[in-house]
């Protein structure tokens, strides 16, 4: 296989994997803390992409300002959706299925409102207006300014989020709620307040991820929905509620969709149109053989190591 193709698919894997990680972390956060598999997360991603697009058409070309704007708008929509839909529902002590259906419904409503607006102002399949520049070129590799925006921004946000979760009181409260809600309340954790912060973080990250996605490729109102399947695959691969697992899962999905797809295409002649099937295959395989996800495997490994230390 030509080296150019190989390296190009690895670069794409890294780029897409970082974006999946940003999207999946928000999803895992709501799943772990609020106990809601939020399908409307997809529309927050699309919304972020469109906020960036509209801002760029209005002449905003500072990328950092654009990302901050997206974070604020989607975080606000996420908080609003909690206040208007999930919180009133929660008071009726619904089953998890009710909550999933509600998130589906909310997602559909947001998606078709977006469709109407996009249709009205003719924003189908547009790319965010950021001039494409080549920042690095060699015989085998071309890296654009987009790569240098997408990958470091995602990594910085992932690092910031993990610092927040591990070293701040808010982070400990979130993890405590994810672990044992009743005990967290006994310890005086203000559930409502932590939920709001969770929605702000999850929504904001989805928006930023959507904006970066829109810089990387053209967008339409289905962008988030198509991405969310890969994102769910990353979350499942990470064991549903583990943050480290989710990040690893996102890169594994990114690699499978690009690098592995490229290999399959080159050696077995598999058509690229099979690419959307990859996340489904991953979800089914993980649920069949490793329902505890990647980190479940690492936890088992660690337990054995500790046992060996304590009883030699």
């Amino acid at each position: 296989m030509p080296t150019v193709l190989l390296i190009d698919s690895l670069v794409r894997s890294l780029q897409v994997g970082s974006l999946y990680a940003l999207m999946a972390l928000g999803l895992t956060l709501t799943l772990a803390v609020v106990k809601l598999p939020n399908f409307a997360h997809a529309e927050l991603i699309t919304l972020g992409a469109y906020v960036a697009l509209v801002a760029s058409f209005w002449g905003l070309n500072n990328l950092l300002a654009m990302l901050v704007l997206c974070f604020i708008v989607t975080a606000a929509v996420a908080v609003l959706s909690y206040k208007a839909v999930y919180k009133p529902l929660e008071r009726r002590k619904p089953s998890i299925y009710t909550m999933i259906l509600a998130s589906f419904a909310l997602g559909l409503i947001l998606r078709y409102v977006l469709f109407l607006l996009v249709d009205r102002f003719d924003f189908f399949d547009k790319r965010i207006k950021i001039p494409l520049e080549i920042w690095y070129q060699s015989k085998t590799m071309i890296l654009t300014n987009i790569f240098f925006w997408v990958v470091p921004t995602s990594l910085i946000l992932i690092i910031l989020l993990s610092l927040l979760l591990n070293y701040t009181n808010l982070g400990r409260e979130m993890r405590a709620l994810a672990d044992n809600r009743a005990l967290a309340r006994v310890q005086g954790v203000q559930v409502e307040r932590v939920y709001y912060f969770t929605w702000i973080l999850a929504g904001g990250l989805a928006g930023v991820a959507g904006a970066l996605w829109g810089i990387y490729t053209s967008i339409n109102p289905l962008t988030g929905w198509l991405a969310i399947l890969s994102v769910f695959a990353a979350t499942v691969l990470g064991g549903m509620t583990s943050f480290v697992g989710t990040i690893l899962g996102a890169y594994v999905v990114g690699l499978s969709e690009n690098f592995v797809m490229q290999l399959l295409n080159h050696y077995l002649g598999l058509d690229f149109s099979f690419k959307p099937a990859i996340p489904f295959i991953i979800i089914i395989l993980v649920l069949l053989f490793r329902p505890q996800g990647l980190t479940g495997f690492m936890d088992g490994f660690r337990t054995r190591a500790i046992r060996r230390q304590t009883n030699p």
């Binding site: 005990l183 967290a184 954790v189």
Partner: protein
């Protein structure tokens, strides 16, 4: 002086009533035992104090302030702490993160000092600091659970079966520790099925049966007066009276 007063409490879960018109009081500095056979409502009683059940009528007052209707997450601010029987630690977090969560309201130097105090009182936790709490033994978990409650600087600590599932050695360890906490000025309310070992340590006990008060007295009184206890609990009918009689 009464620190905690429970008056005509009727409580349960949904349509199920478990406690019927129960009244009792806890004095400041007391080491109080709540005894009774399985299903007598002991756990429901402490859960009710923490707002984790449905309260149908009656009142629960701490230093004269009403607790019924206060949300669970606001009760620790009133000087109460609760150690549930099961799932009483954050198993996926490290021991240190568990403790840091309990001192999160303090400023950094104070929090650091509180943590050092906890390590002095519970030396095993200092050794296990970086370990995931879920990987500890039953006794170590119980120590961590008590430390979590203790770090909130409560006036009164409620413990639900702290000796359940522990080895006899650890049971003694836990009861010794509780005695020390009581001597440091914390009022204790301990729910136990293991009546004989608790009565050796506590000052006063209430015996519940079918959600009602069956008997009360100082622990020496209860230990001495086996016949009374038996008649309250039904002769030889329950594991509890058998254990008392042993």
């Amino acid at each position: 002086m009464n620190l905690l007063t429970i008056d005509k409490l009727t409580a349960g879960y949904g349509k199920l009533t478990i406690l019927h018109d129960l009244s009792l009081k806890v004095e400041k500095g007391q080491y109080l035992g709540i005894l009774g056979p399985n299903g007598s409502g002991k756990s429901t009683l402490v859960k009710s104090i923490f707002g984790l059940t449905d309260i149908f009528s009656g009142s629960i007052k701490i230093s004269g302030q009403e607790l019924v209707g206060v949300a669970t997450e606001n009760i620790c601010k009133r000087g109460l702490a609760y150690v549930p029987q099961r799932q009483n630690i954050f198993a996926t977090m490290t021991v240190r993160d568990n403790l840091l969560l309990a001192v999160r309201h303090l400023r950094r130097p104070k929090a650091h000092r509180a943590l050092q105090d906890a390590y002095a009182l519970f030396p095993i936790l200092a050794e296990r600091q970086q370990q995931s709490a879920g990987l500890m033994s039953g006794g170590e978990r119980q120590m961590l659970a008590i430390a979590l409650a203790w770090l909130g600087k409560p006036q009164i600590m409620l413990l639900d079966e702290p000796s359940a599932g522990l080895s006899p050695l650890f049971v003694i360890e836990i009861f010794k520790l509780l005695r020390r906490l009581c001597e440091s000025g914390i009022t204790l309310v301990v729910v136990e099925q293991n009546a004989r070992s608790l009565l050796r340590w506590c000052d006063y006990a209430y015996v519940l049966r079918e959600g009602k008060l069956a008997f009360e007295g100082s622990s020496s009184q209860i230990l001495a007066d086996e016949e009374t206890v038996k008649s309250y609990l039904g002769v030889g009918g329950t594991a509890f009276s058998q254990r008392i009689a042993e």
